[in-house]
């Protein structure tokens, strides 16, 4: 190859690359999305978060017209996957699932040294809500949350409870109860909800903090949502029983790295809520044991920040105890 052709070759390669880049930028602005979207699930495959994300991804492919690749990046209670999401290019082609309050405890625990904070993401949609329920065995003397709170106060440091891990929603709710009742509980940390519920059913703990799927055969005292759940209309909330501070819901939503172009964020929010609000999607989710509770757009952004601030004092309390 002589000098001339080499130069021509180089120039044309550069110009083609340049044109391609311009073209893709132009397309991204006008017709996002035009290629596959990667969805990071920061938990392992087969869990509740994964299930919900995959259901939604399936339906979104049709709405957005591109394929969505769900990628599990588990580890350190979702810290690894969230770090990867926070560091991704904010172009709308990498999005991810996030769980609250797991997300908040990672940011708020100093020893976690999280490489992201609540401002590192643009929030797309709140998708699934998993409320906590306080329940006891059917033969328990407690018939209301007030009975329980009174007894906990009278016998400080004696009632035993199990969590599914440090700083899980169960643990945070137990810390809330301690504050509300001005008491101490014996809190033991187990590995997952199945283990902690086995302790309860084996009679080794006194009160169960659990999710609706574990309620069979138990006497529920209060649900920790702000309003009664349509699916469980008979369980009174803690709020209506006079304990407005006792609210703990584990929510799963979707976010993108902060700095998404406005039109891209709007397109994503629009597509997600369109899909999540269809009855077909909600039925499929319900069949997998997931309650879809859509919190859309700016409302979700506000919700995430509100939950984050609510978790702050509880995480601080837990950190002091260690």
């Amino acid at each position: 190859m002589n000098n001339f052709t080499r130069k021509v070759g180089a120039v044309s390669v550069v110009s083609i690359l340049g044109l391609a880049a311009m073209a893709s930028t132009a397309l991204a602005q006008s017709s996002y999305p035009d290629r596959a979207i990667r969805m990071i699930v920061p938990f392992s495959a087969g869990g509740g978060t994964d299930l919900g994300a995959r259901l939604l991804a399936d339906d979104l492919e049709e709405a957005l017209g591109v394929s969505i690749t769900v990628e599990n990046v588990p580890g350190a209670g979702s810290q690894l996957g969230l770090t990867e999401l926070a560091n991704a290019e904010p172009d709308g082609y990498t999005i991810g699932a996030l769980n609250q309050p797991a997300f908040d405890t990672i940011i708020l625990s100093p020893e976690r040294q999280a490489a992201f904070n609540v401002d590192s993401f643009d929030y797309i949609i709140g998708h699934v809500a998993e409320p906590l329920v306080i329940a006891v065995m059917p033969d328990s003397p407690y018939n209301s949350l007030a009975d329980l709170v009174a007894d906990a106060r009278a016998r400080s440091g004696e009632l035993r409870v199990a969590t599914s891990g440090l700083l899980t929603p169960e643990h945070l709710a137990q810390l809330q109860l301690e504050q509300v009742a001005d008491t101490r509980l014996r809190i033991a940390h187990f590995n997952g909800a199945a283990e902690s519920m086995t302790q309860f059913r084996g009679g080794r703990t006194d009160i169960a903090f659990t999710t609706p799927s574990f309620l069979e055969g138990l006497k529920p005292l209060a649900i920790l949502t702000t309003e009664r759940l349509a699916a469980l209309p008979d369980i009174p909330t803690a709020v209506e029983q006079g304990f407005p501070e006792l609210v703990m819901v584990s929510t799963r939503g979707f976010a993108a790295p902060a700095g998404l172009p406005d039109d891209v964020l709007d397109r994503l929010r629009e597509a997600f809520s369109e899909v999540a609000n269809t009855p077909e999607h909600q039925e499929r989710a319900a069949a997998s044991g997931l309650t879809v509770d859509v919190v859309a757009g700016d409302e979700y952004d506000a919700y995430v920040r509100q939950i984050h601030e609510a978790a702050r004092p509880l995480v601080e309390l837990s950190t002091q105890r260690q």
């Binding site: 809190i187 033991a188 940390h189 187990f190």
Partner: protein, 504 residues
């Protein structure tokens, strides 16, 4: 019983699925190969192969690894009979009569009866395991952290005291294992301990790397000191024993199965003990005890039945209590845990499909092994002709590659090499490595259950004495400890205290 029966059937059906069947066959083949090759034990082989099972899913992975375990029991017989070198420690007893039989031209009959005895013991053992598993695991709900802690203490005590050799050394190694288990993020609060700022240590010392080093690399180093196996001297004629031999052997097989299974239920009991005891029992019952050691077929039959029944029975404490009694079972337990399944009282409740498929595969595996070892025994004999140095290089490469692929972390490879050298040194000074590995595996559970117990009791240690099951278990481990101290002071003469590394 109805539901139990449907579990069994579902398990066997699952084990017969093409994928699971394929991995059972692969595992049996590898196991037999490992059994034939002296100097490479089942623990090492399984440790080396764990990284290659990561993407298989729990059932195929565990089916393959447990098939290796049973396969080595079969394969070890071949070298015992033909070369008078036990391929596995449990085959030592098989040498006693198997090799004399081969010398007098009865090698075929010896291998034949060994395969038949192993098949019977394997199937019978699995059936007893099936019957025992559910009642034992129904204790699960009664097991809280307090009982779990006491049970783990029993497990560690048993492992320490059954190894033979120095009790002090075994205790020291257990403590070293527990100390190693402390490395990494603490299991409850996530605070880093003994990591020296090295993030590779946050998840603890990589268990598979330690196992590969202690069993794989260390054995390799040891085998360099051994002389090459003697050439095969016997011809293989018919594998079917003569009529009168069959009659003698049948009763021996049944008795061997009984002894092997009963002793195999005790966690930490090395396979050599029931095998030797079954052999001694057979000699005592025989009308011609003088034939033993000179080619008595009952000796081969009972030894093989006993070691295979022991292998099945040793699964009972692993699956139902989560106590791995031996190095091989420790590796198998590691394989369970890598797949997110913790053996123990909750196994049958939380993962019934997986565990019953694994148990079903034991039946399938034994049949596969019988086929591999009965008609195809001549092929395995050829393996003995491979120069050992080629094998050693291949094994070392496998160890390195396997460890690296765990997390693509070169640090793990260095851990493996370090523990390989350590393992070699430990063998040389006769310090047992099995208690170290088992303590390393059980350590995090021990710590978690201790902390949970104390969280629930508000810090009162008395909870271990006021909970009946826990108090009973702790008293039991005290008794074991005292008995083994007394036994160490007056060593028994008739139980071999050999402690080969590959002891399954």
């Amino acid at each position: 019983m109805d539901s139990a029966f449907s579990f069994w059937m579902a398990g066997i059906a699952e084990a017969m699925q093409p994928t699971n069947l394929l991995f059972a066959i692969i595992g049996c083949t590898i196991g037999t190969l490992v059994g034939v090759l002296p100097g490479l034990g089942p623990a090492a082989a399984m440790a080396i192969l764990i990284p290659f099972t990561y993407d298989l899913g729990p059932v195929p992975a565990i089916v393959m690894l447990s098939s290796i375990y049973f396969g080595t029991q079969y394969g070890g017989t071949i070298t015992s009979v033909l070369v008078n070198v036990p391929g596995e420690s449990t085959s030592v007893v098989t040498c006693l009569d198997g090799h004399p039989m081969a010398k007098s031209g009865r090698a075929g009959a010896a291998l034949g009866i060994a395969a038949i005895g192993s098949l019977f013991a394997g199937i019978a053992g699995t059936l007893i395991l099936m019957v025992l598993a559910l009642p034992l695991s129904s204790l699960a709900l009664r097991f809280g952290p307090v009982e779990t802690f006491a049970l783990l203490i029993v497990g560690l005590t048993l492992v320490m005291s059954f190894r033979g050799g120095s009790l002090i050394a075994a205790m020291a190694m257990t403590i070293v294992g527990l100390m190693l288990a402390l490395i990494g993020l603490d299991p409850v609060q996530g605070a880093p301990r003994y990591t020296f700022g090295n993030s590779s240590l946050f998840d603890g010392v990589e268990l598979v790397a330690v196992i590969m080093g202690l069993f794989g690399v260390a054995e390799l180093l040891l085998s360099l000191e051994e002389r090459q196996a003697k050439p095969i001297t016997s011809e293989l004629t018919s594998l079917f024993p003569r009529k009168e031999e069959r009659k003698d052997a049948a009763a021996a097989i049944v008795r061997g199965t009984g002894v092997g299974f009963a002793l195999g239920l005790i966690p930490g009991m090395a396979g050599i003990v029931p095998t030797f005891m079954a052999y001694a029992l057979e000699r005592r019952l025989s009308r011609h005890p003088e034939r033993f050691g000179k080619g008595a077929i009952e000796g081969v039959a009972t030894a093989e039945a006993a070691n295979n029944a022991h292998a099945q029975a040793s699964m009972v404490p692993l699956l139902t209590l989560g106590i791995p009694g031996t190095a091989t079972l420790a590796v198998l337990m590691g394989a369970f845990m890598i797949n997110g399944i913790t053996p123990g009282p909750f196994l049958f409740m939380d993962h019934p499909e997986t565990v019953w498929a694994v148990i079903g595969s034991f039946i399938v595996g034994n049949v596969v092994l019988f086929v591999l070892n009965f008609p195809l025994v001549r092929i395995w004999v050829q393996v003995l002709r491979i120069p050992p140095n080629y094998l050693r290089v291949a094994i070392l490469v496998f160890c390195m590659l396997g460890t690296y692929t765990l997390r693509q972390n070169i640090f793990d490879v260095m851990i493996m090499i370090a523990f390989g050298v350590l393992g070699y040194v430990f063998k040389k000074v006769n310090w047992p490595t099995v208690p170290l590995v088992i303590a390393l595996i059980l350590g995090p559970m021990l710590e978690r259950s201790l902390r949970q117990s104390l969280e629930l009791s508000d810090g009162a240690f008395s909870v271990f004495l006021t909970t009946p099951i826990a108090a009973g278990l702790l008293a039991f481990s005290g008794v074991i400890l005292i008995v083994s101290i007394v036994a160490t002071a007056r060593p028994a003469k008739n139980i071999p205290t050999t402690q080969p590394s590959s002891n399954p």
